[in-house]
């Protein structure tokens, strides 16, 4: 029987030690007090994104003018990571030029895919999301709002190009 098996099982590493790394205080703070939650006046582009794996949803409204993200609001339903990420993103992108925002989005994607270290100068509170990397199933949660914003920029770009 297996109880007497001499085969060594590989040591499966769970997530026992990493929970506080995932749910850092700043993330829980953004989750409980979401910044820029709600609808905004004068949105120039609106996108809806969801994570088909888990059902998380984000409804993102952006006011783009003069080459800048002038305002942004988000609603939707999701886990603490996706909601905190939307809140952190909102704080950091409002007022920035679309080029800066694109760079930010690419940086966040690279951080989540583990190819670069998170830059606190760029991401501000969002640097805390780097802890999500150790939880591959949650990376999509962290990126949901950022991908939605990228889509919003592209849609606006297409509309302006016409």
């Amino acid at each position: 029987m297996h109880r007497n098996s001499t085969i060594d099982l590989p040591q499966l590493k769970g997530h026992m030690g990493g929970l506080d790394n995932l749910y850092q205080e700043v993330i829980l703070d953004h989750y409980k007090n979401r910044r820029h939650r709600g609808e905004i006046e004068g949105a120039t582009v609106t996108v809806d994104h969801n994570n088909p794996m888990c059902g998380d949803e984000i409804h993102l409204q952006v006011r783009l003018a003069n080459g800048r993200v002038e305002n942004l609001g988000h609603t939707g339903d999701g886990c603490s990571i996706s909601q905190a990420s939307a809140s952190m993103m909102s704080e950091v992108v409002i007022g920035k030029s679309t080029d800066e925002v694109r760079e930010l989005i690419e940086h966040m994607r690279a951080v989540m895919h583990g190819t670069v270290e998170a830059d606190e100068e760029l991401l501000e509170d969002g640097v805390a999301l780097a802890g999500v990397r150790k939880f591959p199933a949650r990376v999509k949660c962290a990126l949901l709002s950022w991908i939605a914003l990228k889509d919003a920029l592209e849609q606006q770009g297409e509309a302006d190009g016409k």
Binding site: M1, H2, R3, S5, L9, L12, K13, G14, H15, M16, G17, G18, L19, L22, Y23, L28, M53, C54, G55, D56, E57, D77, G78, C79, S80, I81, Q83, F135, R138, C141
Partner: protein, 406 residues
């Protein structure tokens, strides 16, 4: 055959630690763990008897055939069906697609109705939507009551002369609700409709007799009933199989092939194109024999006790909503729940840190989730190897998660 603690010892994976802590596996509705006998039977097959089935003349092929047919007979016996009606598929999804296409394409037309329910898994929704698009038929959803059971008054009203097929999940994977599929089958038959039952969450956990259910088709899957992945079973009345056109064409499903056209094999083989999952069939046969040796009544009794125990304990957790019927007798093993202040994914992540494996998400039942008004729930589910100690660990971790995210 023994007790729960003996059964538990039959599952090698449950002896392994994760980060030095015991594995508390409460995701059996997603997939069950496998007893040693299933693993060994499949390994023995590859070591001792591997040859393709239904074609070889040599002794090794005859041994492979013998084990394969023995397994098919065991699987049929578990659900009180005839091997003449037992079709091996890849999973329940393929089994339902098989019926939707092989039967539906030739029997549905504009104005016909396909009646399913709001608590179906996507595998019993999307195939019918696809076939409805091709045939002009309409897919109707029977609603549920506030108690998360099928609204049988609505069912009676919705089954009518336009209804050509009724396809219902026996036990909801996302609510745990046991549906009265025998009664629905009688209503369907009275209207001249085909009755299909998705047994994914019932066959692994309770006595299910295809004969007594009286349905036309019953589908279930190997990996949720202690068997391997890669095998599903469609059980149908043999006459129904005879009346149906093939689903997939290829080797093994033919009588003759000429440059002008083909004629087809009779019986289940008509629907089993290509080399079947031989080791998986043999493994599932071992799983069926293992379950029959315990006795499906004993399996059900054990899980009912766990469900009762869990529902009692979970009732004391502040802010916890449990979905599905409150009476454990009216439920299978899945227990879906949500905490008012913590998202399902965060609950599942917190539970993982306590070594407790549960599922979080929409459970491939998005129409149901929309009806419930939630994006996701967490779900704990048991099998023969599960214990009240594991339920205690779940409940303790749930208390902990409420405090953690407060």
């Amino acid at each position: 055959m023994g007790t729960a603690s003996n059964w538990r010892a039959d599952f090698p994976i449950l002896g392994r630690p994760i980060d030095g802590r015991p594995l508390i596996y409460l995701d059996s509705a997603a997939t069950s763990q496998k007893p040693e006998v299933v693993i060994q039977t499949m390994s023995d097959y590859y070591r001792e008897a591997n040859a393709n089935v239904r074609r070889g003349v040599y002794a090794l092929a005859a041994e492979s055939d013998r084990r394969f047919e023995h397994a098919r007979a065991s699987i049929a016996r578990l659900v009180d069906a005839s091997t003449d009606g037992l079709v091996v598929t890849k999973n329940v999804t393929e089994a339902i697609n098989l019926v939707a296409y092989a039967w539906g394409l030739r029997n549905l037309s504009d104005g016909d109705e396909i009646l399913i329910t709001i608590m179906e898994h996507h595998s019993n929704i999307v195939p019918w939507q696809l076939v409805a698009e091709l045939t002009g038929a309409t897919v109707k959803f029977c609603p549920m009551t506030a108690g998360h059971e099928l609204d049988m008054d609505a069912m009676a009203e919705m089954i009518g002369p336009r209804t050509k097929v009724v396809s219902v999940v026996h036990v909801s994977n996302a609510l745990g609700t046991i549906n009265p599929v025998a009664e629905i089958g009688r209503m369907a038959h009275a209207a001249g409709a085909l009755m299909v039952v998705d047994g994914s969450q019932s066959v692994p956990h309770m006595p299910v007799s295809f004969t007594e259910l009286g349905c036309d088709v019953l589908a279930f899957t190997g990996h949720k009933m202690l068997g391997p992945t890669g095998i599903g079973i469609l059980v149908a009345r043999p006459e129904l199989l005879d009346s149906m056109a093939p689903f997939m064409g290829g080797g093994e499903m033919i009588n003759d092939v000429t440059t002008e056209g083909s004629t087809y094999a009779t019986g289940p083989r008509k629907f089993e194109a290509g080399t079947p999952p031989i080791a998986e069939t043999i493994g599932l046969g071992a799983a069926a024999e293992y379950l029959m040796a315990i006795g499906m009544d004993a399996v059900r009794a054990h899980e009912l006790e766990l469900t009762r125990y869990a529902l009692d304990a979970m009732a004391d957790i502040p802010g916890l909503m449990v979905y599905g019927p409150s009476d454990p007798e009216r439920r299978g093993c899945p227990i879906s729940f949500a905490m008012d202040t913590v998202h399902a994914h965060d609950v599942a992540q917190f539970l993982d840190a306590q070594g407790v494996c549960v599922r979080a998400g929409h459970h491939c039942a998005k129409p149901l989730m929309r009806t419930l008004g939630v994006a996701a729930t967490a779900r704990a589910s048991t099998h023969v190897y599960s214990t009240t100690d594991e339920i205690d660990a779940l409940v303790a971790a749930l208390h902990g998660s409420a405090a953690y995210f407060a």
